[in-house]
Symmetry: C2
Subunit: 213 residues, 2 copies
């Protein structure tokens, strides 16, 4: 084994172990809350010693920050990978929303860390959550802008207005994900359908009996 | 002066003073955050002594709880008073949204206490904020239900679906109020118009050049 390969062999387990620690931390913090979560419990759930958690992630605050950042990256990657660039605008929106609600369902602890815990335990974490949310908003604004351009709606919809619509859509999605977390009978498909009905067809169409399809 | 009148005379200033303390607390907590806000600062802003604040509101936690409850009551009253029961459904929604964005604009500190501070400082306050939000959701669900009934859309829209639409609408409104708080150029009317376009006309209509009017 060359020197380089040995270094790589030592490094791989580190990345893997760090991933295990973050998985454990997200699980413990998502379920019991940041305040109640102890480093002992997180180390045990990760199957490592507590000093090793401190060695890798330095402090409970740094571990929490790393969890928030990783969950945000995972969510954004899931959405952007799901959206087919060549689909029609409503198809892109549907795929993106479905990916979002699936993330919130399958990684329920991650979603709680990102949306609830990061906003519940003081301002540095809340600011980080805002920064991560701004990235999602940017993505959604771009998606709506290309949708409007495809339909030649850019004559009517300015950048400022499209940003406003993105804020409305993201807020509606967050609210429905919170609802789904409280009601296990609600599937990601059901939430995505409700939001497509709301956001695409609009209440005006809905009360008149229309539906998005 | 009879005994009863004397009691009433002593009681009136108490209610008034308590209101002043809450006003001051909302201002200080809304601007500097719950953690940074001191009872000294709140007492000074209210023009009373610190022991008097403790006598009336017992603790910083109790004072904060009273602030959250009062702001939620004020917001709900503003919305429900604005909605004319005999207006068409979209007119009712417009009035309700305008009242909401006006509250968030005129009582910016109150909105920050309710929506940001109550969710940023631990779970008992976050739970209270959720309870208050559930009341708003109930009101909006009832409004959408009567809108659907008026348009005979109840054949198509079940209770569960209407609750989902209410969650979407409330989440969208919160998100736009947060945006408006960060951008002083955005008026309550502009935010209400964006949300009516989004929620009533829908993105499908908007990209095709439609607007709510």
């Amino acid at each position: 084994m060359s020197g380089k390969a040995r270094v790589r062999a030592r490094r791989m387990p580190r990345a893997e172990r760090e991933r295990q620690m973050l998985d454990a931390a997200v699980r413990v913090i998502g379920r019991h809350g940041y305040q109640a979560a102890s480093m002992d419990e997180i180390a045990e759930a990760a199957g490592v010693s507590k000093p090793l958690v401190y060695l890798y992630l330095h402090s409970k605050e740094a571990l929490f920050t790393a969890c928030v950042e990783r969950e945000a990256r995972t969510l954004i990657a899931a959405i952007s990978e799901a959206v087919g660039q060549r689909d029609p605008a409503d198809g892109q929106l549907w795929s993106g929303l479905l990916a979002f609600f699936r993330y919130a369902d399958e990684r329920a602890d991650g979603w709680r860390v990102l949306h609830v815990q990061a906003r519940t335990h003081g301002e540095p974490f809340a600011r980080l959550a805002d920064t991560m949310r701004a990235r999602v908003l940017g993505f959604v604004t771009a998606l709506l802008t290309s949708a409007a351009r495809a339909a030649d709606g850019t004559r009517d919809l300015g950048e400022h207005e499209l940003t406003g619509l993105a804020h409305a859509l993201v807020g509606a999605a967050e609210s429905l994900a919170t609802r789904a977390a409280d009601d296990p009978a609600l599937t990601p498909t059901a939430s995505a359908r409700t939001l497509m009905d709301f956001a695409w067809t609009g209440l005006g169409g809905l009360v008149a009996g229309e539906r998005w399809s």
